[in-house]
């Protein structure tokens, strides 16, 4: 009976460790997907601004819808703040929508807030250049995220189970 309990506990520990490892691995992949979604959103925003001459609030909403995921929520919120007229410049609206605080390490936050300071303040060609720069920065972050994912995903997928197994052995 005790052996059966030990066995079940061991399986649970290994499973929990494995699951934890898989979650960490998934967070690397999610980060990569999120940055890709931001790049899609900014490209759509550039199209709305350069070709559609759509007002910024609506352009941000449409760009968010085109990308889906986190950008959709953030850009919709930023558009809402912007059209409310109380939150100051676009960069402040984006920072508030991103929930960014001082020292935020997310690569997209800095790129978006810097872009926000320029959004809507100049002609379409200039806007396209600023958005292009932000996309360039996000591409850099995405490449790093891809590297990190390639390095860490497989490791974390196995390491969780390994740590779970080691813990089980230690407890036995």
């Amino acid at each position: 009976m005790i052996v059966a309990f030990k066995l079940a506990g061991g399986v649970l520990t290994v499973g929990a460790g494995g699951l934890l490892g898989l979650l960490v691995a998934e967070s690397y992949r999610a980060r990569e997907r999120e940055l890709a979604a931001w790049i899609t959103a900014l490209t759509a925003l550039q199209t709305e601004i350069s070709f559609g001459h759509t007002r910024l609030g609506e352009a941000m909403r449409r760009a968010g819808r085109a990308a889906g995921g986190a950008p959709a929520k953030v850009l919709a919120r930023a558009a809402e703040l912007l059209e409310g007229g109380e939150s100051g410049e676009v960069g402040e609206c984006l920072a508030a929508a991103l929930g960014a605080g001082p020292g935020d390490q997310r690569g997209e936050v800095d790129a978006l807030v810097v872009l926000g300071r320029r959004l809507g303040t100049s002609d379409a060609a200039d806007q396209a250049r600023h958005i292009g720069l932000a996309v360039g920065r996000l591409e850099g972050s995405r490449a790093k995220a891809e590297d990190a994912a390639a390095r860490n995903c497989r490791v974390w997928s196995s390491i969780g189970f390994l740590l779970g197994g080691m813990l089980t052995l230690a407890l036995l």
Partner: protein
């Protein structure tokens, strides 16, 4: 007629003002706010209101509100909706139209493309012009807008200097023609809407609203009252818009604002040749002054207009100084008279 209409300053202009100026405008008395014709912001200088009686400083806590850099940046952001790239044409023309048809004039440093102004940067002054919807203001003029048997609209040119109510009058004429006859015509009224074929109606009014000031369309819906038979082409250059309107909507009358270029005048003349009546406005003090402007001289000489309505301020803002029969050069009104609005704003009878 007594309909309640909104206060355009509170509802439509305040949201586009920077925070401290907005607060100052909101703190004005109802009477002062209703007399506002313009709000002028100049970078680094005090914000001012312009009324028919003169200028007033806009104050917060008893102190005039200065347009600091922060206030100015907020004003530009609010007026352009953070979308300067979408307003290059408007900036090159020197004005942006706010929801509700209020025009904000802007000047700064011009960016040239050869001889033409491509856009403006480093804006330094803004002038918010309050467009007031004044239903009924054209009541006394309607008999002069229609033929003697009241079945045909005449070609009318409304003349005045800037800020004397041309667009307000034009809008109400369009509304009354479209709604049908509170002027007592044989053509029927909106109060008898469901009659059979051949029943009398108002006129089909085609509004070519290049600057979005007449109809103030938002998402294709006119924000100003224009009656049930008005079709609006919004934001389209006049010359192209007039011909599009005639081809697509077969109006009885085409209404447009501020004729100033050769091609506008040619299009109006073409419209009147097509059997479509034309009602337009132009900057001039009277028909003689208009005839000194090359564009208008030619149109007037070719007989494109039947009558001219001259606005002034001899009896205060909204005075009809003269109504001239351009065919006979005869004055049709014995003396100047005030054009009165028969609506209320916030319960105050005007």
């Amino acid at each position: 007629m007594l309909t309640k209409i909104r206060d355009p300053v509170l509802d439509q202009i305040c949201p586009a003002l920077p925070p401290r100026v907005r607060e100052a405008v909101r703190s004005l008395s109802v009477a002062d706010r209703q007399s506002l014709l313009e709000i002028r912001l100049r970078r680094g200088r005090p914000a001012m209101g312009v009324t028919a009686e003169g200028d007033l400083y806009l104050c917060c806590a008893g102190q005039p509100v200065d347009c600091t850099e922060d206030e100015w940046a907020a004003a530009v952001r609010l007026v352009t909706q953070c979308s300067v790239y979408a307003l290059e044409r408007e900036l090159s023309a020197g004005f942006i139209t706010l929801p509700g048809g209020h025009r904000v004039g802007l000047v700064g440093r011009a960016v040239l493309d050869g001889e033409t102004v491509r856009t403006q940067t480093e804006l330094s002054s803004m002038n918010y012009r309050v467009a007031r919807e004044m239903p009924g203001v054209a009541d006394r003029l309607m008999p002069y807008v229609l033929s003697a048997d009241r079945t045909r609209v005449l070609n009318i040119l409304i003349l005045s200097g800037p800020g004397l109510g041309k667009t307000t009058l034009l809008r109400d004429i369009a509304r009354q023609l479209s709604t049908g006859p509170e002027w007592g015509s044989e053509r029927g009224s909106q109060s008898e809407p469901c009659r059979g074929a051949g029943a009398p109606t108002g006129f089909r009014v085609g509004i070519v609203d290049e600057r979005s000031e007449i109809a103030a369309c938002s998402q294709g819906v006119p924000q100003n009252q224009l009656g049930p038979r008005a079709d609006v082409i919004d934001g389209c250059p006049k010359a192209a818009g007039i011909m599009m309107m005639i081809r697509s909507m077969s109006p009885d009358v085409v209404v447009t604002d501020e004729v100033g270029r050769d091609r506008d005048a040619n299009a109006l003349e073409e419209a009147s040749r097509c059997g479509v009546a034309v009602i337009a406005t132009a900057h001039a003090l009277d028909p003689e002054d208009a005839a000194r402007r090359p564009v208008l001289r030619e149109v007037l000489a070719r007989g494109a207009f039947d009558r001219a309505v001259v606005l002034g301020r001899s009896l205060g803002l909204g005075t009809c100084e003269r109504i001239v029969n351009l065919r006979s050069d005869q004055d049709l009104s014995a003396r100047p008279f005030r054009l009165e609005c028969s609506a209320r704003i916030e319960g105050v009878r005007r």
